[in-house]
Symmetry: D3
Subunit: 131 residues, 6 copies
């Protein structure tokens, strides 16, 4: 695969999972670090996300756990809560995953992530969440 083909392949996977939000991140890197944008597309999505060993819904569950635990990743949580909805997780499942995170990361991380979910769900007219 050429460098261009690898990029195109990654971009297709990125769009399927992250939708417009992923493309916007890559675009906003164009004048500061196009190579970081290239690595997000070609490596993260083209090489890793595209692998068949774990379906997209499972990858987003792992990703929500990681971003919640890391802290300070609210912009990425916003992208990936959208992505989680895009790949088939329901609002109630996402909220439950973030409640679960309180056990391992503590209340502050769980609260911060849940308020990002509230913002995303409000934008997509998904509130209130019925569990």
């Amino acid at each position: 695969m050429t460098r261009e083909e690898r990029y195109e392949h990654g971009l297709k996977v990125l769009r399927e999972i992250d939708g417009e939000a992923g493309q916007k991140v890559v675009d906003s890197l164009a004048d500061i670090s196009p190579e970081l944008g290239n690595q997000v597309v070609s490596w993260a999505f083209g090489d890793i996300y595209a692998r068949p060993g774990l379906p997209p819904r499972d990858r987003q569950l792992v990703t929500l756990g990681m971003l919640t635990a890391l802290g300070g990743c609210e912009p990425q949580l916003e992208v990936h809560i959208n992505a989680a909805l895009n790949v088939g997780l329901s609002p109630a499942e996402i909220v439950e995953a973030l409640l679960h995170s309180a056990v391992y990361c503590g209340m502050p991380r769980a609260l911060n992530a849940t308020f990002v979910a509230k913002k995303v769900f409000a934008e997509r007219d998904l509130l209130p969440v019925v569990t």
Copy 2:
């Protein structure tokens, strides 16, 4: 104790320590994750904070240390610097605890937490802090 009694008990403790700020966090969870609000109240405050083994002032010292170290917990620091004042820590003691944090967490975490204290103290008309 029934589930309702546990919640009422936790809410009483939450109000004594966090005041209005704690109630606001719980209220803002109502349409996204009422169960997370329930766990903050019933578990964190009803089960853990309410235990007699460590007085409220000591719990806030530990809590300030943890929130400063975790990073990215500015909203929770705001609540708990208020809580620290509510349970009897003086502004000078809080500032000293955050200075102490520089030894273990480094300057950036100590600075970020101190600027949250500045915001809280300004709102409560407690500036300048005289040490």
Copy 3:
């Protein structure tokens, strides 16, 4: 539900998911912090894990993501990689989830978690992992 019933319920869930490893952690807390053991059982497993909103396999995917991201949680990763196997994740899926973690946590966290998986899989005679 009484305190005892809540504990018994949590213990049942803990055993289903973590098996003997979870029980060992609780036992080793008996002389230092029996209440922490009680909270692991009654709260983490009885209240949170037992909720029907997210199946056990999904909870372990979120948990593997969090423990990998937190760092320094090798003992808990060992318990939960075992738990992941117990609830139906295959060795190849676990390995893929940890590969995926490199995108969000970086190579050191992904490597450390993968070497814990190697230890667990060796003990359960699951090596080599075929993907």
Copy 4:
């Protein structure tokens, strides 16, 4: 104050709080980074710990919170759980502070810190802890 006086002053404070354990850390730095040892003594203990604004018992409560939250600081937790005992915190209070940490840092950090306490208390013949 000369550099030597500042060091002697810090060493006195270090010994009062950390006891032999603190001295050992400084000694083990002698052939690799004597200046880091000097900064631990002169700055951390001489400049910060020695300040009168927060008593030693309060400083250890903050410190236990920070070291638990940071993760991967088991060697420092060992020193500071000893220090906490040295400055008047009871085993039961230390254990309660670490239970409290579960609310903010999650169960893995609380467990890891509690097992360090178990090691220290065993060495000082303080088990079982009666709460």
Copy 5:
């Protein structure tokens, strides 16, 4: 050296490296924690930065790595990306260092730091970065 001389020395180093931004941080601490400001100046810059063992450019490379890895240190990253430019790192070298950070900290930390660089470079009219 007197306390005043130590402070003046540190202030000189701070201004050489951080420029106005460092002074602003110290000024904004005046009414909340002047001692934290004093420690930033006298200890961090006067004692540590001023040491001859590592040139300023090298110190900023280490610092960019730490601030990116810690997360939640966007205000400090802003100061230190400015500082990195002040001590001779080119925009392209800074961007490359942050791309490199993706390997060790993962994409979210690398992205967050790179967007701080974009803000700083825009203010200093250094966009687009040509690599």
Copy 6:
């Protein structure tokens, strides 16, 4: 470039920088996650490390900063303190970089990293470090 050429290229860079230690990490992944080993080689070293925009010595300064800040990365610090020596950083410069880290990460992270350096320098007969 074919997948095989990309791997061979990365392996060459890995060996130049990490020496035998890097190869050992990759080898130990063979039966658990050969793809993670492939990504370390082909992506981290072949794609990122190999870029000309930042020389190897600079990359190790950034890397030491990140690994110290992350915490819990002692195995990776061991590899990269060796790598730092391999690419031309002197023991005294490495020790100074880790002293510098105390300002941003606090004493525990600085101490843990310095004790890893002590282990590596002892193995390479580089103690005591003369500054």
